[in-house]
Symmetry: D2
Subunit: 273 residues, 4 copies
Amino acid sequence: MATFDFQGKSVYFETHGEGRPLVVLNGIMMSAASWSEFVEPFSANNQLILLDLLDQGRSDKMVGEVYTQEIQVEVVAALVAELGLEKVSVLGISYGGEVALQLVLKYPELIDRLMLFNTTAATGPWLGDIGDGWNKALDDAEAYYYTTIPIIYSPAFYKGNREWMENRKELLCSTVFNNPDFMGSMERLTNSAAGYDVSNRLSEISAPTLVVSAQQDYLTPIEEQQKIVAGIPSSHYAIIPGSGHASMYEQPVLFCALALGFLNNTKTEFHIV
Amino acid sequence: MATFDFQGKSVYFETHGEGRPLVVLNGIMMSAASWSEFVEPFSANNQLILLDLLDQGRSDKMVGEVYTQEIQVEVVAALVAELGLEKVSVLGISYGGEVALQLVLKYPELIDRLMLFNTTAATGPWLGDIGDGWNKALDDAEAYYYTTIPIIYSPAFYKGNREWMENRKELLCSTVFNNPDFMGSMERLTNSAAGYDVSNRLSEISAPTLVVSAQQDYLTPIEEQQKIVAGIPSSHYAIIPGSGHASMYEQPVLFCALALGFLNNTKTEFHIV
Amino acid sequence: MATFDFQGKSVYFETHGEGRPLVVLNGIMMSAASWSEFVEPFSANNQLILLDLLDQGRSDKMVGEVYTQEIQVEVVAALVAELGLEKVSVLGISYGGEVALQLVLKYPELIDRLMLFNTTAATGPWLGDIGDGWNKALDDAEAYYYTTIPIIYSPAFYKGNREWMENRKELLCSTVFNNPDFMGSMERLTNSAAGYDVSNRLSEISAPTLVVSAQQDYLTPIEEQQKIVAGIPSSHYAIIPGSGHASMYEQPVLFCALALGFLNNTKTEFHIV
Amino acid sequence: MATFDFQGKSVYFETHGEGRPLVVLNGIMMSAASWSEFVEPFSANNQLILLDLLDQGRSDKMVGEVYTQEIQVEVVAALVAELGLEKVSVLGISYGGEVALQLVLKYPELIDRLMLFNTTAATGPWLGDIGDGWNKALDDAEAYYYTTIPIIYSPAFYKGNREWMENRKELLCSTVFNNPDFMGSMERLTNSAAGYDVSNRLSEISAPTLVVSAQQDYLTPIEEQQKIVAGIPSSHYAIIPGSGHASMYEQPVLFCALALGFLNNTKTEFHIV
C-alpha cells in the first residue's frame, strides 16, 4: 500500500506476492479495494499490482479537470517505471480493458501478456448514450443505482443473489452513490471514455492476448469482443456463459482460472497447429 | 378509426382489411400509430386490429389510478366482443406480449394463434430495477431518452442508422418525453407490469404459439423467450440475429415474414414428425 | 406432374396452385416427392413448382456422366422457360440452395425473391471430406445410413422421434440406400458439388434474400450462413433453434412460416430504417 | 514411463513433474503420446499423470473381449492406488470425460477437481449411430478418415491448417487407420461407450468441476455440456469459440489456460457471491 506522484497527483497502488508481474486495471466504478477477494489467488504465484486510476479509490480526484483515458495510460506507464519493472502483464476489465488496449498500443515494449475481460474497442454512439444516461442520474443515488446496476449484472445473477444484491443496493445508495465526490469522479471517468476508438489499430498488437466475453454482457456485448478477436492476430478467445458484465463477481472461479491460467501458462507456441 | 367504451374509459382502435383477424398489442412506449408502416402488409390478407391500450396513444389516460396489466387483458377481451369476433389471433411485442400471455391464460377460447415477440414471462427483480430506473428519469426528457433508448435498440442499429436515430432523439425529446401527460402514462404503464409473473402457468397454453427472440435484446433477453418456449408445448421458436429489443423496427422484413407466415400458414400439423 | 426435355434428358416437375410462382430446389437426397406434406400450405396462395434435378427422383439418371451443379442451374432456367414464366422466386435447401445461388448469379433477371435454407457458399475442404466419406459408404446401406443421417438430423430430433427415425431407417436401408441406381445418383450428385464456390460473388446478388440457419446444423453450420448474410446486402437472416440440417422436417411449421411469410410479404422497403 | 498390472493386463502410464497430481484421460483415438506438446506446461507446476486406457496406445489390447467403460474406471482407480495417491484431479476429454464422470460417481473420495472437455453425459441414439458409422468403416483407412475426422475438427480448422491436415491424413491413413490392431481397438473402445448414461446421477457430484464446450463441436455438441452444467451444482462453465471437438489441438493455449488455471486456482469459494 503506497502512493506515487504523477504530475502532481497522488496515485495509490498495492503490490502483493512475487512472480511474473500483473497489473490489474479496474472497471469504471471499481478501485484496488474491489479486488480484495482476488488478492490471495492472484498473488499466490505472481506479483499482483493493484492501483487506483485517477478519480478512482484512494488516488487523487481530478476535480475541475477534463481528461481522456490517455492520462490513465500514462499513469500505468509511470507506475511500471516507479516499480522498476521492464515488462508487465496487464489485465483490464471494461474501462480498464480500454486503458489496457491504449497502453499496449502506445507502449508495446512494456507489455508481456494482455488480458481483456468485458472490453470494447470503441465508445460508439450506443455506449456513448448509455454513459450520458449515467451522467443524467448523478444527483440521485437510487436513480444512479437503477440506471447502472441492471446493465452491469445479469438477470440470472439478480435472481440468484437477492440478499447480496439488496445489501449491495443499500450500501451503494447510502454510502457511495450519494457521495458527491464519488459521483464527480464517476462523471469525469465516464466522460474520459467518450471519444475512445482503437478499432482500426488492433492489428498492431502482437502481445499474446486473452479476450473474454460474458454471454449476458449488455454493456460491452459479445459482438464487441468478437471485433477485438478479429483484429488482434495473437488473440485467444473464451466465453463465460451465465454471466453479465461484472464477470469477476458473477463467475469469480472462472475469472481466476482464465486469467491465471493464461498468465502463467509456460507455453504459447504449439507445434500442433 | 373508432373508439369504444371500457368501464367509462374511451379505448381507441382501428381495423384494416379482411381475413383471419389479428389483434396487435403494443410495446409500452408504442401506440396504434407506431404500426403505420406495417398496416399495408398486415392488412393485405388479414383483418388487422390495432388498438391503444389504456394510457397509450389515443385511449384515455388513467391519471390518478393504479392498475395492473390485468385491466389491459380486459380491454382486449372487450374489444374482441365489441367487434363481434369469436376468435382472434394475437401478436404482442414486449409489454403487449405480456398482456397477450395473460389474455390467452384467462380467455383461451378467444385465442386462435399467438405470436410473442421480445416477451418475458415475468417481471423479475432485474427487469423491475430497469423499470424503476425509467421512472426515476421521468422529469427530464434527455435523461429518459438516454435511460430507455439504448436498452431498446441494438448497438449495430445505433451505428448503422445515425441520422434516423438523431432525428428520433430530437423528436422524442422535444415532443414526447417532455410531455407530462405522456410521461405520467409511461409511469403507470411501467408500474402496471411490476408484479407480472406467468412462469408457472405457461404449460396451460395450447394455442399454436410463435415465440421470437432478437439476439441482441438487452431488455427481454433471449433466455426469457427460451423459458417461454420450454413452457408452452405448442410453441415454435425463431431467433432474429442482428436486432435489439425493437425487432419490428430493426428487422421489419423478418418481423413481417415471421408474423404473417405463422398467422396465415394453412397447416400446423405435419405427419413428418 | 409432367416432364420436359433438357438436352435429351427427361426432367420431372409438378405445379400446384396459383399465385406468385415459387420454384423449390431439393436437398441432395430429396426429390419432388419429399415435399408432399408441404404442397398444401405452399400452394394455398402460390404457384408451387417442384422438380427433380438431374439424378433426383423421377428425372433421368446421369449414368456414366460427370457434371457440376452448373447443369442443374441450366435445368432450372429451362424449366422456367418451359413454364413461360418471366420471373420466379426460388427456395433452395442445402444442395438446392447452392444451385439457387448459382442460378441467381447467372440469371439474375429470372429471380424474384430468393430463400436459402441450410446453405453454404462453398464446398470447402471440410465439407469435401464429408462428401468423400459418403461416397466411401455407397456399397453398404447401413453404412450409408450411419454416415449420413446423424449429420443431417439433430441429436434432439433423434431422441424425440425414436419411432419415426427407426421406421425411416428401416425404409431407407431396405428400399433406398440398397438401390444401386439411387446410390449411383447420390455419388454423382455429391461429386457435382465438389468445386462449388461463390464466396467472392455474393455481393453481386440484389434479389431480396432470406437466409435461414438451423442452430444445430452440423453439415452446413451456422457460420456458413453468416458468411452468406455478410455477403448479400439485400439479405435478411433468421435462425431456427432446436433444429439440425433437415430444418424442413425438424421444424416444418417454422419452415413454412419463414418461407411463405417472406415470399408473400407485400412490403420489402420500410421507411423506418 | 512405466506399466502396471491390471487384472492380467499391462497398463502403460507416465508421470511428469511434481505438485498437485492430475490424471489426464484420453479421447477415444488418443493415447498418452498425444499429449507430448502439453507435457511441459502441464508438468511445470503439477504432477502430470498420463496413461493409456485399455485398448489405447501402449496398454494391452482387449482382443476378443467385450467390455464397457466401467473397466476403464477401474483402471484409473488402480493406477491411483499404484501411485500411492490419496486424491487426484482428473481431466477428461470426450471418451476420457465419460470415464471421468463414471469415476467420480463410483469413487468420489479419490477425486479432487474434475475437468471435462467436450464431454457428454450419455451415449444417446444420435451418438450411437455415429459410432455405428465409424464401425462400418473399419476396413478402409480412407473411409475411416473421412467418416471420423470431419466430425472431430471444425471447418475453420480444416481451412486454416491445410498442410497440417493433409500431412495428418497421409500419416493416419498409411500407419494408423490401416493397422488392424488399432482398428480392432477402435471398434472395442467405440462399443464400450454404447450404453453409457449418467444423466440422472450428475447431481451426486460435489467435486469442483470445470466444464468446457467448443462452439463448433459436432460430436458432443454444446447442448450436451449444458446438461452436465445444469446437473452438477459445483460446476463452472466456459465456451471456446472457433473450435471443434478436438479443442486441445484447435485451441491449445486456451485449453492449457482453462485446465491449469482451474486446477491450480488457490481459491474456490468467494464471499462475493
